[in-house]
Subunit: 501 residues, 2 copies
């Protein structure tokens, strides 16, 4: 073969296409012409023993990229890691084995353990296109994964990343299905469980579509981007931690599937269960409490749906050796008063510090979850002991020690620009729209601006008069404040206010 005909120097395109590998090549470059590559062709690029399959975008102008080089998106660049002057070798990729397995699933066949493993491996190696992945997600949607397949997918996803192991045990964990604004129980639960002498090495995620993830909230109070060695030191010293899971490589397959599942927004109990439990298993946990908030604007909308999800979680957990307790909770309203990283951190600290204005709902939810975990541990009493550890200040002390071990505690402070939003009529508050109030917090800058967000000033059930404050918007800049305010003013019913009956 005249191999030099396939080669081009590689540049960084400095274009972020999320985790999707994209290669930019000029329409006149000899490789495109020789191989017949056109826009969106899947192209295999080899460089220094590594390879990636990327989608081609064809540069047609005379601007930033000429025919003498190819430019890679961030994801393609980090897959190949070319050195200075390294050439990429371009070819048509072979059809990955996973493509025919996805095809089989689309046609209704049942897949086994080895087949899910192949699909996950090929997805991880970027050998499946986004279209292939969308087809896979679609073919698994609804009830199309049975119990055996759910278990197989869970195992395949766990095996795709590393698994932590911990000396001693049991190793505890908690998880909440579906975001309820302000439902930031994790730091409190971890503090109580660790104060009880238990092991709870908690990894959390950052926000993707919400105004704050647990990692964002925790980061207001202490560093969270720890590597595994640092995380291990914290847990060995304090029994628990709250760190960002993204840097640990525990669930790389989940990251890839979630990028496709999220915009499609198909409900699939099978994929949800595999996503949750593969991460818990990878984190080395063996006893896990799952919080399932149920409400009309929550992820799980009915008691029946919660029951079906619970059953599948239990069966799958048993198969992979996890003890599970499920806590079905009220998901109709935001929890606590703050929405946004710093605002939620303030709520967490008030609960731990037992201040008079600590939000009761957040406190009680955290106590219920911690009680279940303590009970499961088999080492201590449950609800009563959890409450005692919180009331005595032992949980607060342990939390401050964890923050110190993670790199040092920082007290959250208020944003410089704040604006109260008032009721436009008299009546009783009957509901708060979870999604719209979250949107206001995001438009104010959360979670990128940690101090931005929304502080709720009234709860459902409250009788209000016109002009009574409902919530306050917090922002870093007057512009962002005005932007969130304009959105809020344009909405009809973030707070539903009705005639008292």
């Amino acid at each position: 073969m005249t191999r030099d005909r396939h080669c081009l120097p590689l540049l960084q395109a400095e274009i972020d296409t999320y985790s999707q590998p994209v290669v930019f090549m000029h329409q006149d470059c000899h490789v495109c012409r020789a191989e017949g590559f056109r826009a969106l062709t899947r192209v295999r690029i080899d460089c220094g023993g590594r390879s990636v399959i990327a989608s081609l975008n064809v540069v047609t102008g005379a601007g930033w990229l000429g025919p003498e080089a190819a430019a890679l998106s961030g994801a393609a660049w980090s897959a190949l890691r070319p050195g200075p002057g390294d050439m990429g070798q371009f070819s048509h990729p072979e059809l990955p084995e996973a493509a025919s397995l996805v095809r089989a699933k689309v046609y209704g066949e049942r897949l086994g353990q080895a087949q899910f493993a192949t699909i996950i491996e090929d997805a991880m190696a970027h050998r499946l296109s986004d279209l292939d992945l969308a087809a896979f997600v679609t073919a698994c949607a609804g009830e199309q994964l049975n119990t055996c397949e759910t278990i197989a997918l869970t195992r395949a996803m766990q095996a795709a990343g590393r698994t932590l192991d911990w000396i001693g045990g049991p190793v505890l964990d908690k998880h909440c299905v579906g975001g309820l604004p302000g439902n930031r129980t994790t730091p409190i639960v971890v503090a109580i469980a660790a104060a009880a002498g238990l092991v709870i090495p908690k990894t959390s995620s950052r926000a993707i579509t919400s105004p704050a993830g647990t990692a964002d909230t925790m980061e207001v109070m202490a560093p969270v981007a720890l590597d595994i060695a640092a995380m291990r030191r914290v847990v060995e010293a304090q029994g628990g931690c709250v760190v960002w899971g993204g840097a640990l490589g525990l669930s790389p397959a989940d990251d890839i599937l979630i990028r496709i599942e999220r915009p499609l927004d198909f409900d699939s109990d099978g994929q949800l269960v595999a996503s949750i439990l593969s991460k818990k298993a990878a984190a080395g946990s063996d006893r896990v409490v799952i919080d399932i908030p149920v409400g009309p604007t929550a992820k799980v909308r009915s008691a029946k749906a919660a029951e079906a999800l619970s059953a599948r979680l239990r069966t799958t957990a048993r198969a992979i050796g996890l003890d599970l307790a499920i806590f079905v909770s009220d998901g109709s309203q935001p929890v606590g008063r703050g929405i946004g990283p710093a605002l939620e951190a303030m709520d967490v600290l008030k609960v731990l510090r037992r201040t008079p204005d600590a939000p009761d709902d957040l406190r009680e939810r955290a106590l219920a979850l911690a009680g279940l975990l303590l009970e499961m541990s088999g080492k201590t009493a449950g609800a009563g002991r959890a409450r005692a550890l919180l009331d005595s200040g032992a949980a607060e002390q342990r939390f401050m020690a964890i923050c110190a071990a993670q790199g040092g505690f920082t007290e959250p402070v208020a944003a410089p620009h704040r604006l109260p939003m008032a009721a436009s009529r008299n009546g009783v508050i009957t509901a708060i729209d979870n999604r719209r109030i979250a949107r206001v917090a995001k438009l104010a800058g959360a979670p990128q601006q940690a101090r931005a967000g929304v502080l709720l000033a009234a709860r459902p059930g409250t009788l209000v008069q016109r002009g009574h404050p409902l919530f306050e918007i917090w922002a870093e800049t007057p512009g962002e404040l005005a932007y969130a305010r304009d959105f809020a003013n344009a909405q009809e019913e973030i707070f539903r206010i009705e005639e008292p009956k």
Copy 2:
């Protein structure tokens, strides 16, 4: 709302992302920051009364695009057509109605006419992402579209573009399902039918993954990129034409679905039938012959599959008022001797000119199809008359007249660089690999280089000795010739040669 916060000037990115609208924005631009846009966010852009929904690629470097403007891919640019200095207004798109219909189909619901129409409309307006479209294609794969749904999808696809109408009739058409290299019967069939005094306004496609489409082959002999008015003049004068359908806007929905279906490569009789018949109906045809080649490397691989497809074609055609005849043919081997635009044009001309070396298989296939069409017209005899029109030279004369009417005939000529490839052993040729021989033609430059391709020198059944020529590679440049040769030499069995029994 402070609307100016959402606006940016629009530039052309000069990046071809096929028909996928993409917007490039700098990570520091105020719109990304204010709206929380990240890579691959779906972004709505309004400009001068038009709008498009594009996927966001985020520019991170300091190179070709700064934060003060947004750059559009070709598809996004042509959807908005901004004037000089026009600003784009950026926002989060509403969820299109079609997304929830796709979701319903994914969950196994049956969709009706209005619902398919909404899906096709939203797809056409780029309101569905590629992931949504992949989910739709997946949810329709295999047997998941029933007869009623196939009919509804066909109607929705036809309604999405314009429909031609013709004075007089019947209006004839032909179509071949799935590419067999060299199966270039169309120009011959059109010439015979037009010579019989019938109306056959044929639109054809260019190659997408094959070494030549009918439009590519015809273009070697005459212009094919006619608009509707010019096409109409040709058909009114000569009874028939062979023009490129791509410029006529007859099947815009098909273009969008095919971009997703092709890489996924799911067999779906429902979508295939809707794609074929919606185009025939849009072209104004009312009597159509469909060629279904069956063979191990063809699109349809068994007689049983051909029967199922035929049944669905017949039912759907009846529902939308098309008369149909189906011709199930041998799809095991390439047809004729040439593969590539000019090489196939030479075969076509030899058949029309009745030269001694005209390929028999191409001639007999064209005669069979033309005979069926003549029969269907109800105006003339079938097979015998088709043969008479070819043998008498009437078809040749009509073909030259059609070429002249389309803008003038050009005689195809051989490529300047040619290389014979010889048998590596003694034996009898038992098969030619359709896909690999097509690949050689493409590596030699077909279809972009019209004269490039492969000329077959031996057919299955031939006894050959080592060194006996099997085929010749034709190319425009020595480099392309060498490239195709190297590929061919690296393959084991483009021609299978076995011990004679």
